[in-house]
Every structure is written in structure tokens, then in C-alpha cells.
């Protein structure tokens, strides 16, 4: 076992654990945000640079600090490593800078974006960004791309996290898309239109951290905070059949994979479960999905609410 200290919290982890995974084991505010890393997608991470941390001591054997900030999602823990995340002003400044870079070409159209309420970039911006932008130039724009009946791709919002590319590569048997061009002109290839043929293509939507890939049948049918997410399962020959149903009353508006508290899908589901089982009777409903109280999705869902005791200031006088 290796010992690592992150923001003064010490934990023992197994060899091969990354700093981000170790931070998640500790939990709380010290967990670095991640836009491109997804624990269930092999080789993901290291690109968005939002999870950068400062290693002030490499290991017990070699206590020298690492000269640059390192991506916590791809840096393995060494025994005796000491890491700073939110305790380092340098890290917070770098993270603020990354938010500014990501928002350069990402339109701030949250009021009309279908990802509103579920957008990781929105959360990142609130927690680590500044309230103004110094970018005065025109943002790059693309025409939306039609990707069949199920997925809507809006390249303007794409932050090139590569998650959908990895998802298509790892969960479908014929990857038909990737990244074209380079630099800030890089874009997801139009071959994506053909990726829809596969039974697991819907997972590309689930791994997208922003509103670039959205669920076409669900688009603008409802806002997520009006829906009640319910954990449900069904017997399926293609996938685990474990999903989250987004319901209003008895009507199922959308079916997605179940996400953990970092927004990462735990069980990828097939397109049959996602798109063809919109009837609540097709599912065994387990109960309401646990949502972080800080999430916009938790709005109006008074789950486990403890009512404050009624205090009547006139009570004593009346008695």
C-alpha cells in the first residue's frame, strides 16, 4: 500500500492508483474536477487540464517537488507523495485559466441548451471560473450536424474532451468518427452520422460533459429539474439493464445510464433500453435516484427533508 497526502488528508491506496482516484477516496472539496477523464473509459483523461494539481513532494525516496503542475487523472501516486489541490493558489489560478480557455469558444447559451442543469462545464465555471471573460474576439461557429434520429450534435459546444470518441471506440464495434483538423479548428468528424447504427451509440450522449451531444428524442421535451430521476432495471440481453428513468408523473421522458456523483456513467446501457422502453411498466422501479443536494436537479424534490420545528413567539405570552 502507498501513502499519499492530498490537501493535508492522508490515505493509503493501492499501487497504480492515480491522484484523482485517491482524492475521490478521501472525498469532499479536495477532489479535483475533471472534464475529459471518465473512470469507465480506458485511456481517457489528461487533455482538458482541469484536474491539474501541485506535487510538493514526489515520494519519500525522492522528496523533490515536481517542477510543473500535473494532471491528477493520469499521474500515479508514489509512496509518501504530498499533493496540493485547493490549498495551492497556483492550482486554483491554473484552473481558473482553464475555465477561461474552455469558455473562449463555448457559447454561453445555457438558457436554451438542453444540457442545462447537467452541464459539467457550467458547474466548473461556477466553482472555479471568474464572472467575466476577457475574450473579445468572435467565437468560432459551426452548423449543427444531423446524426440520425437519436443524437443531436452541436459542435459549437464541443470542448474536445474525446470522451465520445473513446465511448464509441470501446462500446461499439465499428467506430465511425474521430477528430478532424487541429488546434482550435479541430472538430468531431462528420462520420459521426454513421455511428448511430450501433446498439450502444446512445452512450456517447451520456459521456459528453457539455451540451454538444444531446438526446434527440428528448430535446426540449422538458427541463431536467422538472423531472424526477428514478433508479430502475429490467432484464436485458444486451446490457445490464440498470438505468435511470427521468419521469414526470407516470410518464418516462428519458432513459439514461446511472451516473455516480462525479457525473460518470456506472453502467452503460443499450439503445433498446434507452429509446424503446419509455413505458414505466417495462421497468422494475427501485426508487428515487440519489442526487447531490447542490445539484439543480434536486430542486423541488424534497427528499428526506426535515421540517423545522415550529416556533411560535406568542406561545409563552398566550399561555
Amino acid at each position: 500500500m502507498l501513502t499519499v497526502t492530498i490537501d493535508n488528508h492522508t490515505i493509503e491506496v493501492e499501487e497504480g492508483t492515480t491522484i484523482l482516484q485517491a482524492a475521490r477516496l478521501i472525498g469532499g472539496d479536495i477532489v479535483p474536477p475533471a472534464m475529459c477523464y471518465h473512470s469507465k473509459l480506458k485511456d481517457s483523461g489528461g487533455k482538458c487540464r482541469t484536474c491539474m494539481v501541485k506535487v510538493v513532494q514526489g515520494s519519500t525516496k525522492d522528496p523533490r517537488p515536481m517542477p510543473k503542475l500535473v494532471p491528477s487523472c493520469r499521474t500515479a501516486v508514489m509512496d509518501g507523495m504530498v499533493v496540493q489541490n485547493i490549498t495551492s493558489p497556483e492550482v486554483l489560478e491554473a484552473r481558473r485559466a482553464v475555465v477561461e480557455f474552455l469558455l473562449i469558444n463555448h457559447p454561453l447559451d445555457c438558457p436554451v441548451c438542453d444540457q442545462a442543469g447537467e452541464c459539467d462545464l457550467q458547474n466548473l465555471s461556477y466553482e472555479h471560473g471568474s464572472n467575466t471573460s476577457r475574450f473579445e474576439e468572435e467565437k468560432r461557429t459551426y452548423d449543427p450536424i444531423t446524426i440520425g434520429d437519436l443524437i443531436q450534435f452541436h459542435p459549437n459546444r464541443c470542448i474536445l474532451c474525446y470522451r465520445c470518441v473513446y465511448a464509441a471506440e470501446q462500446f461499439t464495434n465499428k467506430r465511425m468518427h474521430g477528430v478532424l483538423y487541429r488546434g482550435d479548428k479541430a472538430e468531431i468528424s462528420t462520420f459521426i452520422q454513421q455511428a448511430i447504427d450501433n446498439d450502444f451509440s446512445g452512450n456517447m450522449i451520456d459521456v459528453c460533459p457539455v451540451g454538444a451531444l444531446t438526446d434527440k428524442p428528448f430535446r426540449f421535451k422538458n427541463r431536467v429539474w422538472f423531472l424526477k430521476p428514478m433508479d430502475a432495471h429490467r432484464s436485458c440481453t444486451k446490457c445490464s439493464g440498470k438505468a435511470t428513468l427521468w419521469m414526470r408523473g407516470n410518464e418516462v421522458y428519458r432513459v439514461t445510464g446511472r451516473r455516480n456523483k462525479y457525473g460518470e456513467v456506472e453502467d452503460f446501457i443499450c439503445n433498446e433500453c434507452r429509446y424503446e422502453k419509455k413505458d414505466a411498466t417495462a421497468w422494475e422501479i427501485e426508487g428515487p435516484r440519489a442526487i447531490e443536494p447542490t445539484s439543480v436537479i434536486s430542486q423541488n424534490h424534497y427528499r428526506n427533508m426535515v421540517k423545522p420545528s415550529v416556533i411560535n413567539p406568542l406561545k409563552e405570552k398566550m399561555e
Partner: protein, 446 residues
């Protein structure tokens, strides 16, 4: 201080061909290494020589070779980085075009030292004509038993292949080069693991520059200690410098490391002084990605010592008053040059060549390009200058590969040393909108 190692016999007619090259002592190092030395002895000689990578980073070559895990069951590879794309650097082209066997000789010795049986030369796409020259030279070697099976009866086998890139600057970064060589998009890999552990096809790999490998034959023949006596301090041996810009004699020169910059710049043997008798304004000493230095700092350090063409001397003063030897691209600016325009040109290049994988480089290089475009065209604001410094500081050190640093350093250094020119662009838009505005020194001084 003329000393020729790499360019030795370059003036001999037909040196490009194997028979002429061998008549002048070519491939004697291969005979010596394969027949009288063990691979580890070759590595030790290179270590003793103190040869530093000539591609730009200056990492000791012998040390890099020793990182290869020789007990690994996987095959080892040597890859020659001939993807020379840095603006202002054209030394490898000269070398491969005129004396390709120098490189192949070095590669055979290096491959033997690394116990590699396959080596690749990754050539920049724009150097397509050089692919033909290299292939011709390799063919000659196969015919005379210098490549292939049982080289010179030594029981050592080696194949060398030439691979032509598609002309992307990022493929000069060693891990992006390996991705490209594997047939994938040339995106840099995250390090660690380093190529010495997991390189080409996930196998131990050493990537060396053309000039670095071209030194190996001489080191094997003459010994590492003899090589280490050439040069100055930890900057041993000679270095090819590609000089360009406003000088009388642009070209590729081989200098002994430690030569004063002033001598290189003004002597008739090398650059021959500034063109048309004008004043020197600034020099970028190591290719466009290293910080620019104004006249006073390129000729002398802040301590008043003469600035030398060596890794240590050029770096003296850090990035406040120093620069880097880099790839040896020596770009000279005379008094009539506009630094803002040149900075904008380089910034445009790095914006175009960013691979787009990581956010700071992808978005930051484009942003700097846009702001510099405005400044250069008289549409800038005073706050843009500090904005540029701030953006470059946020890119530097936060990217997957050094392209981010390469884009950030020139901008930060140009503003550090020539801030008044940037300010003049803001305060006098009517002058800078003139496409031929040239140097602003005459206006600023008035």
C-alpha cells in the same frame, strides 16, 4: 575556432555516395563498434562524450540510451527525428541532403548500442525530396553489406526504414512522432511512460535528432573523452547553427560550442555582419520557440560577460535576461525590423500547428494570435499587452507537450524586451496600419 566533425569532408565532390564516403573514412566506426566493442561500451563512450541532444532540449544522449530496459522481451527501436520544422532551423536538411551517410553510419552504431534491429528515419513531409536521397543511400548500404543481415560478418542485423510525415510541426515532438509512425493521428502522448519504457509499438524506443546521431560515428572512432575535450563545460562537441535573417552570409555553420556570439555574428568566416551595414536589433538564438534577446543581451550577459554559443551561456539569466541554444536556428533582426509583426508571425504559426488536444494550447494559441493581429494592425488596446503576458503564463507549463511553451515564450520575451514597441502600436495606430511600417525605433526615440 573552426572544428568540423559533422560537416567534415562536406566539400568533397560526390560525398553523398557510398564509395566516395568510404574512401574518406566513412563507416570505419561501424567496423570498430561491431567487431571490437560491446553495445554497452558504445553507450559508455557516448556517455563519456557528454553529447547532448541536438534537437532542442539538450538532454544527454548517453543517459537517454541507458534508460532502455535491455532485459525487456520486446524489441528495441531507434527512431531518428528528421521532422525538422522549427521556423529558422534548417541544419538537418543540409546534413541529410549533402552527407546522408554520416547519419546512417551514426544510426548503425546507435542501433547496435541499443541492441535494436529495426530503425526508422521519420522525415518531415516538406522534405520529401530528401526521402529519395536517404533511400538511395540506404540501398547502397544494403548492397555493400552495411545494412541487413550479418552486417560486415558481425552477426548483427539491422534494417533502416525511411518514413515520410505529412508535414505537421507537432510530429517533431517525440511521442507525437511515434504516434504518427504507428499510423495514427500525430497527437503527443502523456508522459510518463517515456519512450525508453513504452515507445514505438509499446516497446523500448530511443528517439534522437539527425544531428545527434551524426556525431556518433566520430565518437566511436575517436573516443568519448576526445569529444568531451571539444567545446566548453557541459556543452561538448560542435553544433550546427542555421543562421538566417538580416546577415550578410546566411547558411549552415558548424561551430565549436563556446564560440562567442559576437564572433559568430560579425566574423567573415560565419555570418559576416549585419546586412547593408545596419545596426543589430535582436537575435533569436535557438529557433523561433526560444526567447528573443535584444542586442545588449545577445552579445553580453547581464554580468557583462561575453555571451557564448553554448547551452549554459545562452541560458544564463533565466528567461529574464537569457534564452536557449535550442535547435540552433539563429534568426537575426536588424534595426528596421518590427518586433510586433515578427511576434505575430510566430504566434500565427504556433496557433496553426497546435494539435488541439489540451485546452490551454488549443484555445490559448488562437487567442494570442487574435490579440497580436489586432495590435499589429493598429486595433489594439493598452490592456492587450498585459493580457498577452497573462495568457502566455497560463499556457506555459500547463500543456501535454512543449508546443505550449514554444508558443508562450516568444510572446512573453518580446513584450519583456520590446514593450515600448507594443505600446507604440496602441498609441499610434495610423502609423502601424501602414503595411511597410518597419521599425518603430525612429518614432519611439523621437
Amino acid at each position: 575556432m573552426e572544428r568540423k566533425i559533422i560537416l567534415e569532408n562536406i566539400e568533397v565532390e560526390g560525398i553523398r555516395f557510398l564509395n566516395v564516403y568510404r574512401k574518406h573514412g566513412g563507416y570505419s566506426s561501424v567496423e570498430k563498434a561491431l567487431k571490437t566493442m560491446t553495445p554497452d561500451e558504445v553507450v559508455n563512450e557516448v556517455k563519456l562524450a557528454g553529447l547532448r541532444g541536438r534537437g532542442g532540449a539538450g538532454f544527454p544522449a548517453g543517459m537517454k540510451w541507458s534508460f532502455i530496459d535491455k532485459k525487456s522481451n520486446k524489441p528495441h527501436y531507434l527512431v531518428c527525428n528528421a521532422d525538422e520544422s522549427e521556423p529558422g532551423t534548417f541544419k538537418d536538411r543540409y546534413l541529410m541532403e549533402h552527407i546522408p551517410h554520416r547519419l546512417i553510419e551514426g544510426m548503425i552504431c546507435a542501433s547496435y548500442a541499443l541492441e535494436a534491429h529495426t530503425a526508422y528515419i521519420y522525415v518531415r513531409g516538406e522534405y520529401k525530396y530528401i526521402v529519395g536521397i536517404l533511400n538511395e543511400a540506404i540501398k547502397e548500404c544494403y548492397q555493400q553489406g552495411l545494412l541487413g543481415e550479418n552486417i560486415l560478418g558481425s552477426h548483427y542485423d539491422l534494417d533502416i526504414y525511411v518514413h515520410c510525415g505529412a508535414g505537421a510541426y507537432i510530429c517533431g515532438e517525440e511521442t507525437a512522432l511515434l504516434e504518427s509512425l504507428e499510423g495514427k493521428r500525430g497527437n503527443p502522448r502523456l508522459k510518463p511512460p517515456f519512450p525508453a519504457v513504452k515507445g514505438l509499438y509499446q516497446s523500448p524506443t530511443v528517439v534522437n535528432n539527425v544531428e545527434t546521431l551524426s556525431n556518433i560515428g566520430w565518437i566511436v572512432n575517436n573516443g568519448g573523452e576526445t569529444f568531451a575535450k571539444i567545446g566548453i563545460g557541459k556543452s561538448t562537441g560542435t553544433k550546427l547553427i542555421s543562421a538566417c535573417g538580416h546577415i550578410n552570409r546566411p547558411g549552415v555553420y558548424e561551430i565549436e560550442l563556446g564560440l562567442p556570439v559576437e564572433e559568430f555574428l560579425y566574423s567573415e568566416q560565419y555570418c559576416g555582419g549585419i546586412k547593408d551595414g545596419k545596426e543589430l536589433k535582436a537575435v533569436i538564438p535557438g529557433g523561433s520557440s526560444v526567447p528573443i534577446l535584444p542586442k545588449n543581451l545577445i552579445l553580453n550577459t547581464l554580468q557583462g560577460e561575453k555571451r557564448l554559443l553554448s547551452y549554459e551561456s545562452l541560458a544564463e539569466g533565466g528567461f529574464v535576461s537569457g534564452s536557449m541554444l535550442g535547435s540552433g536556428g539563429f534568426i537575426v533582426y536588424d534595426e528596421d525590423d518590427c518586433i510586433v509583426r515578427n511576434t505575430y508571425n510566430f504566434s500565427r504559426f504556433y496557433h496553426h500547428e497546435s494539435c488541439g488536444q489540451c485546452s490551454p494550447c488549443r484555445e490559448g494559441t488562437g487567442w494570442m494570435d487574435s490579440v497580436l493581429y489586432r495590435l499589429e494592425n493598429g486595433e489594439g488596446k493598452m490592456k492587450d499587452i498585459d493580457l498577452l503576458v497573462n495568457i502566455s503564463s497560463h499556457i506555459e507549463g500547463n500543456t501535454i507537450c512543449p508546443l505550449g511553451d514554444a508558443a508562450a515564450w516568444p510572446v512573453a520575451a518580446a513584450i519583456r524586451h520590446f514593450r515600448e514597441e507594443f505600446e507604440f502600436h496602441v498609441t499610434h495606430p495610423e502609423i502601424v496600419r501602414n503595411i511597410k511600417h518597419g521599425s518603430l525605433a525612429k518614432y519611439i526615440n523621437n
